[in-house]
Symmetry: C5
Subunit: 354 residues, 5 copies
């Protein structure tokens, strides 16, 4: 996850509505699949033809058109014309660096969300943009390389159990968004493990690697919250009845989703605060350690410097040093040194450093 402005550069000065694919191409060919269902029947096609589109647009049954791969701009423009999608909408679909948002167009509701995959090896988070378009009786989902991501929904549709087959396209939108937010919990779980590992490392053997780890985690947490926050806003609008696209019976489900989303935000905030506390902790531990080292140094110096000085005095070569001649000189000086050593140690202890 870079700082997200990398390729915007290529669009400077172009007229609005010009399709420019911004993002990595991850699949060779655009894959489009259609599911068309109502409570009683389900029809699927992996290679839909124009007629399939046609029927999906007009039939009273709910249709889900899932597009995987965003680089074939012609194909997408074609779809856009077919479903009457606004040029600005299409521009955002292929420009995969949007903030999560919800836009209402005259004939469609457009949602942009982000999916995250945590690459635990490199402690990297990979991000992908998913566009969801809710129209009259149909949902179109666009992603770059997340063909399997929505498979649980496909399975539920095929099984035909539960509520999903009986409800409208708005419920399908909810179901897709639900999968997206479940994905966040998976990520949070993985992040949590890393945070706890780092905390253990901090408490037991902090190194400058620990600090870099904390720094990276803070950065990631920060960037994730920046993206979750607008999503919460989107869900608040969807659940709040501000839009006519969501039926009253479905609103309850979006409220639930909003709750989940808030929990994600809360958890991310907790992580951030905990990570801040960890930096503080690290600095304190370092200052503790410096203190310990300094104490050792000061103790050694305080004891041995005076002793070495005394030895130095009697190492001088003056001819007239009466002590040197005395046969008691050596034992007396050794005793003196012992007393000085003990005295210094006692003095140090009395200052309560140890």
């Amino acid at each position: 996850m870079s700082l997200e402005i990398e390729k915007d550069f290529s669009k400077v000065g172009l007229p609005p509505g010009t399709l420019v694919h911004v993002g990595d191409q991850k699949v060779d060919q655009v894959q489009i699949s259609i599911m068309d269902y109502d409570a009683t029947k389900l029809w699927e096609s992996e290679v839909p033809s124009l007629e399939d589109y046609m029927s999906s647009k007009n039939s009273p049954s709910v249709t889900w058109i899932s597009v995987n791969g965003l680089h074939d701009l012609e194909r997408i423009e074609e779809m856009g014309q077919f479903f009457d999608l606004h040029p600005l909408l299409l521009e955002d679909v292929v420009h995969t660096e949007q903030r999560p948002k919800m836009d209402e167009f005259e004939e469609h509701l457009y949602c942009v969300v982000k999916v995250w995959l945590y690459d635990k090896m490199n402690h990297q988070i990979q991000e992908e943009q998913i566009s969801l378009i809710l129209g009259n009786n149909f949902v179109i989902s666009f992603s770059e390389d997340q063909k399997d991501f929505f498979d649980p929904i496909r399975k539920r549709l095929r099984k035909g159990k539960g509520r999903i087959r009986k409800m409208g396209a708005d419920y399908l939108l909810y179901a897709l968004l639900d999968i997206v937010i479940d994905n966040y919990f998976v990520l949070l779980k993985q992040l949590e493990e890393v945070v706890e590992e780092t905390e253990d490392e901090l408490m037991n053997q902090p190194s400058s690697m620990t600090l870099q780890q904390i720094y990276q985690l803070k950065k990631q947490t920060l960037l994730l919250s920046r993206l979750i926050h607008p999503l919460e806003e989107v869900l608040r609008k969807l659940m709040g009845g501000e839009t006519e696209w969501i039926a009253d019976t479905t609103v309850l489900y979006f409220r639930d989703l909003h709750d989940h989303c808030k929990r994600v935000t809360d958890t991310l905030n907790s992580y951030r605060d905990i990570l801040s506390g960890m930096v503080e902790m690290y600095l304190s531990l370092m200052s503790n350690r410096t203190n310990d080292v300094m104490k050792m140094l000061a103790i050694i110096a305080t004891i041995f410097m005076p002793l070495t000085f005394i030895a130095g005095i009697y190492g001088m070569n003056f001819e007239h040093m009466p002590e040197l001649k005395s046969s008691w000189g050596y034992p007396i000086i050794l005793t003196l040194m012992a007393l000085v050593g003990i005295g210094m140690s006692w003095y140090i202890k009395s200052r309560k450093w140890l």
Copy 2:
């Protein structure tokens, strides 16, 4: 209290409304008890039958159904069907990692709150979720292992004194929430003791253990505020007449509860600020201490290094060192050393380090 996302993992991709028990099973068997009362009579049953439910649902008297243990999903689903509870509501009851919240369903008002027990030995806070459902003339409370938690209410109901027997199910909801918030004050009291102990330790003999203690306390305070804040929101809604479930005469009591809750928030905020101040204090004390140690070291070195050097000079073995022959050499050099030592001490004092 972990970071709270641990088991959400198990729900990825499941259809909404699927009951999955998330949390620790703490009792062997689900215990259900019923209290049915009005101003004049009280009826209790520890092992309620289906008929008991039936009568509680329809009778004009207030019924309190208390469920202890959440692992028996069939039983809970059964109750759900009987009382017509919404699938999303039931899902949240058994999934014990909700944020505190209030949801209004068509026939019920649903509140989720948290109860905390402070384990003073390990400085750990244990958390439990309590679900309260207010219906027409009845309240259902769900908890995992808090059978005795609401005993004060049971006693008051049995005694029949005070307002509680004369008022409706909304007042019962208030009474139960009141017990929950009283529980917070108990926790705060215990936390306060630990904070003050830690403050004493900090002022008198700070160690790296003190710092870890402060770090743990900050983390706990943080996580508690995260949970108290939404509860305050819930109470604000309940007292604000935004819901029709609370009678006007009872609203006053919820206002009182809201006041208490605000006091909890205030106190937690104070703790947090005080703990932050303590980290600052710790760092300052450490830097003070390093300073003291450094000063000692510098003083010793400043006095004894020049002296040792002088001794070193007259320890040299040159044949032609006239001073060595002079009989005044030794006393003169000793005097010189004394002067250097005094001069250095004086210089140090003049720099105001001591």
Copy 3:
């Protein structure tokens, strides 16, 4: 001022409205005095009888009943019944750890405020709760030990000059609150002196005592703001015409009070920021000082270590050291030492430490 939850413990599980005196008993006996006045006459009694209450309740003149001492719960309950005070209101009167707040009951307006006394000896702030109840034509004030606190008002009432005798009970409430807020300015003035003393100490001779002083001041400022903030809210409501208890002509005075209160908040915020700056300053000064000490140490070591080493070389007892025999050896080595010493000093200066 402790962290304010100490005695709440004793109330866990009690039914709401149960009177429990929380706070220190400071007077032996409850003292009640009554002042009843209108523009033309004033009547006072220090030991009011039941009849006095009766007349104060019903007479068109304004009555001020001032209660000093809160431990005699029977007496207070009696008054409560007499004036028809709500049980929750009475509970808050004797439970002296409320946040400042304003509650409207059907027949009364209830305000809780805090009075602070600064004990300059121990740098402690003592807090007392004052409850003010505004009814139809009367004001009841409850305090623990602040008999003399409202004396300026008593004097103004007796003199009969100014506006106070001509206006209603709402103006009396204003006058009482005005005294309370004037009290805050006295406290701020005293705090300011301590802050300035501490600042002087910090700039001239910072010690770890200075730091503890700053820490204490920050803690106090924090706890005071926590209490002033809700009071500002109370005054905002009173001046905003949200309540019918305040006549339009009096609202202007409450607006003035709100202004004063905001000034208190502003000043407290300034103190807090200044104190934070002082901690920063302290840490910087400490790090400066460590720096100075280190520099001294480094300079001494850099100059004398090489010199001592040279002396050490010529202190070695090898038989074949030609330099030792030369009669120029000693002066040459002394010159060398001088050069090394000067060179090292010059090198240190060139590194701009001094």
Copy 4:
């Protein structure tokens, strides 16, 4: 600019509306001047008589009464009665420690603003309160010692060019406030110079004086923002049409003023953030410097301590030390010392400290 509560002390317990002059008396005698004008004529008087007031109050032309000096309470009370000013308003005029604010009274609009003079010698900011009262067709301005402050307006009025003579009293209020805000830009300009000087000093030769300077600047910036913020609020109200005192054609000018005021706030905020960054920078530079000093010390000690030890060994007086007798002993040991010195230097370099 002290912490602003100094003299409030003197008012404790006084009835509201009592005039007490709080502030320094700066002029011997109160000076009052009147300008009365419309598009065609202008009349001025430096020593207005009662009749002048009378005519200014009733004439359809705009009158500006400018009062300089606030200590003569009788005179001010007289004016108050004449123009029917509310007692609370008069109280605030002479009590020169108000927050900037706007109060609407029945017959007047009352604004309090602050003027600042930067005394660059002592890095002190002097503050003066200006009260502006807008009545029907007249404006009264009160200040302590700012007779010349509004001279640009006087000149514009005398010249009669521009809009000012053609517009009403509300435009005069605008013009006066405009001068006040222009004064802030002058102050900001002066502050900016000091901030930049301090930044230069910080980058080139930071000392503890630099830190104190930053500390002082932060404190001043803080106190200024505290006063600018309520002024912005005042202008927001004046431009927002919340008051009837400002004609629609003049509102545009107040909007412009609000813009300027926001720029002042923005600039002050920038200063504050920059000053915070400077403290951080200072601490980092100090820690850098400590590091440099430490490195020097460590290098010296690491090289010379082992060498001195070796010299010490061969300075021992044992009779049986074969090395001492060998004629190669001395050169071998010298070589050994050279090798140790080089080895240590190499080791230090390899640890990348240098």
Copy 5:
């Protein structure tokens, strides 16, 4: 980008609406060009005459008058009179230190925005103010030296493709603002590179230059956010239908612009947080390094000070030191030294510093 108040000084006391050119003159002569277009035809002039203005004002086609150079106040005043621009508006056009803002006048909509150029050599950001005036069927743009800045729009207009020729003056305003915001992305991209370079430097070889770099970047980020924030506000108003100047069909485009602007803010906020983290990191690394240096010093001193002391003892010249005579003395003492050295090393390791 200075702190932006430099030249406001020159305006103190001038009547509002006085034109004073504040900013650097960058072109010799004011250049004015006109483009007049509708869906079918386009007419351009580089040296427009008065008649051209006349026709542009009245014709139903859209006219874009682009003014480059702001120092010729007469010319601008002339235009102002011709197009009936409000004096306050003209004042802001030539006073190039406005905050971004939108003002509605009776006949015009006035927008001020900022354009930034990053001078990568000196890490300086140069800022220029662009004023956009939307009137009935025309847009006037004022800039100091950005003749080429809007060239992409000129090209699109000439080509006649896309939406731009078919839509009104409000769409032209959008197109111009779009170029401005695209400019921000270019700047962000450049800033990002510097931030990442600095991060690399920090992780690999932090020096005090790195810190100064971070400090500069923080300052720039800060000042940019201060300017972006009000622009976001402007766009929010334009897209929110609060003004009648924007047609419903164009509002969608402004919504898109607002989205882009929010992304700029988000990115700047991320930078700021990341830079704050970098300062923290720097301080931690420094304290790590001090620690390492200290450890080295302490280890050396701990090992060699006792050894030197022992050598010192046997360097004393007492006549009666039996050890000196013994032929085993020397090897025994050497062994003792070795043991002490090993013992000290072992002790140090046991304290886990290494």
